[in-house]
Structures are given as structure tokens and as C-alpha cells.
Amino acid sequence: MRRGIAATALVAALALAATACGGDTKDGGNSGAKADGELSGTVTWWDTSNDAEKASFQKLAEAFTAKHPKVTVKYVNVPYGDAQNKVKNAFSSGSEAPDVIRADVGWVADFASLGYLAEVPADTAKKVDAEFLPQAAASGKYEGKTYAVPQVIDTMGLFYNKKMLADAGVQPPKTLEEVKTAAAAIKAKTGKAGLYLRGDDSYWFLPLIYGEGGDLVDAKTKTVTVDNAAGVKAFKAARDLVTSGAAITNATDGWTNMQTAFKSGEAAMMINGPWAVADSYAGDQFKDKANLGIAAVPAGSVKAGAPQGGHDLAVYAGSKNIAAANAFVDYMTSQEVQVQSAKELSLLPTRTAAYEQPEVKSSEMVQFFKPAVDKAVERAWIPENGSLFEPLKVEYTKAITGASSPEDAAKAAGAEFRKILKGWK
């Protein structure tokens, strides 16, 4: 009978979620700072980096104690896929909430608009404007105020297995048409797949829609654009890559399957970002790091375009230790930490000056991705940004697996977007 009351329990949970908010009025001040200005207490950091990256970040985070001996850093790794939900649960209930989160750039405006984030101190905000890449800084803002400090910036590229491409006698493809011919050659020569196209995450749809000259929405004119002609072409392109045999895909466990296929040489290419570099190097095919090549994402019929992404660090408005949390964010976004993560994980710094450092300059991945980031398509930093990916994922998966035609998928995605973006065209 326990499970028989699931409906009631759900209702109960909702009711609790709605009522449990409020009530706790924390001073939100700098209770963590002692009179002499020395910070103390515990800073809980929820990090969303992947398995290959997390050890590095944990080490960096815990090194904060060397600067502030009285502050304990509690490092928690929250898998990226579940993180948005977990963070919201924790923030809205207030219990066990982290002090600092690593938020995808798409979540900041959402969390800020819901009142979950504390504004960064004024001097930090000034620094963000002066010393960080402007497109990275933009992602931490909502309605003119700064709520997050950019930690890393990224975009997507075409990862390729140099040896497999050379064996098949093809160059890294520049367009989707070239992907198809290259894939056919690879298939003929090695029997392996050309491209792995991730099918269970709509972020991987963005290079396709940018490639056709489209976008999900146009925030300036408040228009949903995912279902216009370019959008439909993008869904067609996704479907076409799979039906033509150029790409393999999965509707579940896409990340694991993609990395496994690429690392083991089952697929010669994939579209991915710098966050996948450390993990890819761990694979059999890339024991010799030089075998991993990176090129710009293949162009559609209009251009080659990849989304600008990345992660920002933000402080929970209800944190009991805001001063220490802010200091931790300063530290984690400092040049020295950014250079470390560029060196160890090939992640791109957000500080302009970091790119002058020899460790960063010498990283081949950074050398490729930095110009790519400069050209990357900046997304609309609206609160609904993160929410759009869920209905888009449903339609993208349907289109790519053939459960729905590209036209229907585009139409349905547009309809869902308009439900989320009330009042948009």
C-alpha cells in the first residue's frame, strides 16, 4: 500500500515544497567573518565536473584552506545531469543547501530570477567586468546585476581520431556533407562508424541549428525561432546524419556511449567540448595524446557555429557563510587556479590575462578552443534558457530516432517553447 499512495505523496511533496519555503530568515550577512577579518566556518561546494575532471577540482578546492586555515571546504561532486534539479531542491528547501555552486552558464539567470543567488560583492563585480572575457562575464548577469563569476568558458568542436582519418585517407571534414563522405570512407576502410552524434542531449543540437543559420529563440524580438525554416532544416540534418549511416547515436546513456565509442575507436569523430578532453586522453586510442585532433564543428548549409557554454560559480543567497563563500569563489576563479585547470584538464580560462601564461599558451587544446570561443554563438541569457533544453531534448531524440518527422519535431518544440516563454511570438 505504501506505493499506492504515491499520488498522495506527490501532492504532499508539492505542498511541502510550496509551504516549506520561507520562514528561515538568515541574516545573510558576513557571520563567517570575525572582527579581525579572518574567515572561518565551512564552505560547501557543489561541483558538477565530470569523472575525469573531479579529482583535479577537489584538489584545487581543498587547497583553499592553505590561504584560509579556519575555513573548511566541503567538496561535493554532483553529476551534471542531475545537478540543476538537485540544486533547486536544495535551494528551495534551504536544508543541506550548498554555499557555492558550479552553475552551467544557462542556469544563472534562472536561479537569480528565483531569488536563489546572492549578488557578488561590488568589487568582485568590477573585476568581472574588467578582467574577464566579456562574453563569459555576460553569462553571470541578470537584469544588470552580477550574480556569478565565470569559472571556465567553452564551446564545441569536432574531435577526431587522427590515425583513423589518415587510414581512411580523409581530411577532417568541414561541412556535414564532408562528414558523410568521410564517414563512408572510414566505414569502407575500417568498418567503424564515422561520427558519434549524441542523441539524448539537446545541447548537441545547437551546432546543427546554428549551422543552418537558425537559433532556438531571438530574445531581442521575443520570438521563438526553433520551428522556422532553418530549425526544420536542422532537425532534418540530424536525422539525415543517422539515416545516411554517417553517424551512430543513442537515445539513452549518450555521454557514456559516446565517450566509449570514441575512446575505443568504434567511432572516428564526435562533436564535443573541452570538458571531454581529459576523459578522451584516458582512452586506448589516445594513449599518444597527439592522436586526438580537434577541428571546428562541421558547418551546415549556412555556416559553422557552436554554442558558447561554460560554468560560473555562484553563492547561495541563504548561505550562512557568505563572506567565506565569496572568498572561495574569488579563489576558484583566480588566475592561478584557472591556469591549473587549463594545464591539467585543458579547460579554458575566463580571465583574459590567463591566456598570456606559458602553461595556457602551450596547451594545444586551448590554442584550438580559444579562437573558437571568440567566435562561438552567445546564447540568450534568459531565465528560461535551461528549461528550453528539456522539451527540445524530447523532440530532438524523437527526430533523430525517427519517432517523429523533422517537421513535426520542430513544430512540437516550438509549441513547447511558447508554453514556457509566455507571451512570446
Binding site: 500500500m1 506505493r3 499506492g4 499512495i5 504515491a6 499520488a7 498522495t8 506527490l10 501532492v11 504532499a12 511533496a13 508539492l14 505542498a15 511541502l16 515544497a17 510550496a18 509551504t19 519555503c21 520561507g22 520562514g23 528561515d24 530568515t25 545573510g28 540543476q84 534539479n85 533547486k88 531542491n89 535551494f91 528551495s92 534551504g94 534562472d110 530570477s113 528565483l114 531569488g115 536563489y116 546572492a118 539524448d200 547515436t249 543513442n250 537515445a251 539513452t252 546513456d253 556511449n257 566509449t260 565509442a261 543567497a317 541563504g318 548561505s319 531565465p383 535551461g386 528549461s387 528539456e390 522539451p391 524530447v394 523532440e395 531524440t397 524523437k398 530516432t401 519517432a403 517523429s404
Partner: protein, 356 residues
């Protein structure tokens, strides 16, 4: 559950007061207690409501026993239920419910909007799609689980070597935590690296897109749920079978009844009470079986395996701002559907003379 419990409480109360009022002898014999109670309780004049007072006084211990249960039920089921129904009549979302987080204070601005949410949900074709699949999924799961459970119980309901070991093995799926089993199945089903496809490929059969194709994904989720549900069915039915007197079988055998006839005319009727109950329970569980669907496919590919409860979850927790009102609406609709089902089911049983 809530409705059922309160009914049985009411029934119990009826049962207590009914015969009491009717039987003069018992009433008289307890009147002394009643007076004692009145005296102990103070000097309130007992003239205005003697019936209630007497009932309270006579059965004070029963009321005292029941009170904590009623209170707990009220707090953990009644209040959230009322609150949920109220929320479903408003436009509450994560954005407009009031709260204070640190320095940020947000006013509550949600409003009562009547039945708009219900109209919106019911008018959306999504509801019908989800309902059709939920019913299909429930019927498929329950009937297959029941058939397999019955078969296994029949096999185990006899003496043979190693019976205990077989029983243990068959109970195992039930002992493993649900999410562990579901994740294990997810690995087995993985198209590129899963063991099921490796076996198929080894046998020269091309890989099956278990979780990537809508139809296969539906078959996969049903298979996992059946796998999880069979032990319960089996144990319950085995218990039922063992309570059927052996003499019936002996007598039938003497009369020359074939094994099938004995199964058909003794085992099945003898199991009726048990099977009706387990079918009802299993139907309700399956209807709301969130973890299997959510953990195995997340409702996908696309939204093809999304059932009503996972949809309610999606409304509440996936999109932002979280839509408490619409999610509560889905919750209330699910509750109504299940209540209706339970009522109809109970009525049809009563016609056959079974009342629980």
C-alpha cells in the same frame, strides 16, 4: 488509501455505536461507566447531548487509541492532500510562491484560478496520450506478472529437491533495492555495450535498440517491471495455494479429475480472494510506478514511455520555474482515476460476493 482508511474508520465507529444503541441491555449495563465518566470529567450538565457524551464516555479508550492515528493521518495525508487540491486550483509556481532566502525576499503573488488548470490539462492531447499508455502499461504489467506469478507458484507448490533454493532465487529480485535493479537492467539494455546485445550478436542476431526505439523501450520497461513484480505475486499466490485444503485435491483425484481440471476448478477458485487483492494492489502500484520508468528511460526515447506520474514529476521538477499548480492538478487527476478504479473494482467484486 486516504479514502479507504477514513471509510474503515467510519465503519469501525459505526460498528461500535450501532449495536450499542440497539441493545438496551448493553446500554444499561454501561450507563454506570458513563456516569463515572461524567463525574470524572467535571460537573457539566449532561442533558443537551447525551448520546455523544455517552458514546465518548463508554468508549473513551477506543477514541484515545484512535486519536493518534487520526492525527497522524491528518497531518501526513489529510493536510497535504487538502493543500495539494488547493494548489491545483491556483497558479502557484516556483516564481510566485512567497519565500525569503537570505537577503532575497519574494512576495507570494499566486492566485486562486478555479478549475482552469484542470481544463488546461484535460484539453491538452498530452493527457490522453499519457493516459492511454499508462493504462496499457498497467494492464500489460499486471496481467503478465500475474500469469508468471501464478505459473511459478504452481510449480513451487509441490515437494521436490531444492525447493527452498528455488524459492530463494525467485524471491531475489524483490530483495534487491529497486534502483539497483533498474540501473543493472539499464546496463544490460545498453545498445552498444550492453550484455543482451552482445549475446544476440554472438548468436548472429542484429542488435536490438532496447531503449532507443519507442516500441522496444515500452517492451523493455514492461519487462523490467514484470521482473520486479513477479516475486510478490508468486509469494502471495503460493500462500493462497497452501491454504487450500489438500482433501479437495484428493477427492478430485478420486473422482478422476485431470491435473488441469483440478487447477481450473479447485486452485483458481480457491485463490480468488488472494488474487483479487494482489491484482488491485499491483494495479495501483504499477499505475504509479515512477522509479522503473524514470530510472530506465527517463520517459524516453522522446516522451514515449512517459506515464502520468512521471509527467507530473516533469511538470513539478524538470521545467523551470517549477509549476506546482499544474503538477498538483496531475496528482489530483491520478488520485481520482485510481479512486474510481478502486470503487468500480470493489463493486464488481461485491457482485460476486467478495467484500473486503
Amino acid at each position: 488509501m486516504a479514502a479507504h482508511t477514513s471509510q474503515s474508520v467510519a465503519k469501525a465507529a459505526d460498528g461500535e455505536t450501532g449495536p450499542d444503541a440497539g441493545s438496551a441491555v448493553r446500554g444499561r449495563s454501561r450507563r454506570t461507566d458513563g456516569n463515572a465518566g461524567a463525574k470524572a470529567g467535571g460537573k457539566s450538565g449532561g442533558s443537551n447531548r447525551p448520546g455523544l457524551k455517552r458514546a465518548l464516555a463508554t468508549h473513551w479508550y477506543a477514541w484515545a487509541m484512535i486519536t493518534p492515528v487520526v492525527l497522524v493521518l491528518g497531518v501526513i495525508i489529510g493536510w497535504p492532500l487538502v493543500r495539494g487540491v488547493y494548489l491545483s486550483l491556483t497558479d502557484a509556481t516556483e516564481r510566485n510562491v512567497g519565500r525569503t532566502i537570505g537577503v532575497n525576499h519574494i512576495e507570494a503573488t499566486y492566485q486562486f484560478i478555479g478549475l482552469d488548470n484542470y481544463a488546461e490539462v484535460l484539453a491538452d492531447p498530452v493527457f490522453l496520450q499519457r493516459l492511454v499508455w499508462t493504462v496499457t502499461w498497467t494492464v500489460a504489467c499486471v496481467s503478465v506478472t500475474f500469469a508468471l506469478g501464478l505459473g511459478l507458484a504452481t510449480l513451487l507448490n509441490r515437494e521436490f529437491k531444492g525447493r527452498a533454493a528455488y524459492r530463494m532465487a525467485l524471491i531475489l529480485p524483490w530483495a534487491v533495492p529497486g534502483f539497483v535493479s533498474v540501473f543493472a537492467w539499464r546496463f544490460l539494455f545498453n545498445r552498444d555495450n550492453g550484455i543482451l546485445n552482445k549475446i544476440l550478436e554472438g548468436g548472429g542476431i542484429s542488435a536490438v535498440p532496447w531503449l532507443d526505439d519507442p516500441t522496444w523501450a515500452k517492451i523493455a520497461v514492461i519487462a523490467v517491471n514484470v521482473w520486479l513484480g513477479v516475486p510478490f505475486m508468486m509469494v502471495a499466490l503460493l500462500g493462497g495455494m497452501q491454504s487450500i485444503p489438500g482433501e479437495l485435491y484428493e477427492a478430485a483425484e478420486m473422482d478422476g479429475a485431470s491435473p488441469w481440471q483440478r487447477f481450473r476448478h479447485i486452485t483458481l477458485p480457491g485463490l480468488r480472494t488472494v488474487s483479487m487483492t494482489v491484482i488491485l494492489l499491483s494495479t495501483i502500484w504499477t499505475f504509479n510506478m515512477f522509479p522503473v520508468i524514470f530510472l530506465l528511460t527517463r520517459g524516453g526515447p522522446g516522451d514515449s514511455t512517459e506515464i502520468l506520474v512521471t509527467q507530473a514529476f516533469r511538470e513539478a521538477f524538470v521545467t523551470s520555474p517549477r509549476d506546482f499548480a499544474v503538477s498538483a492538478t496531475w496528482g489530483v487527476l491520478i488520485l481520482l482515476l485510481l479512486t474510481m478504479f478502486a470503487l468500480v473494482y470493489r463493486r464488481s467484486l461485491r457482485k460476486q460476493g467478495e467484500v473486503w
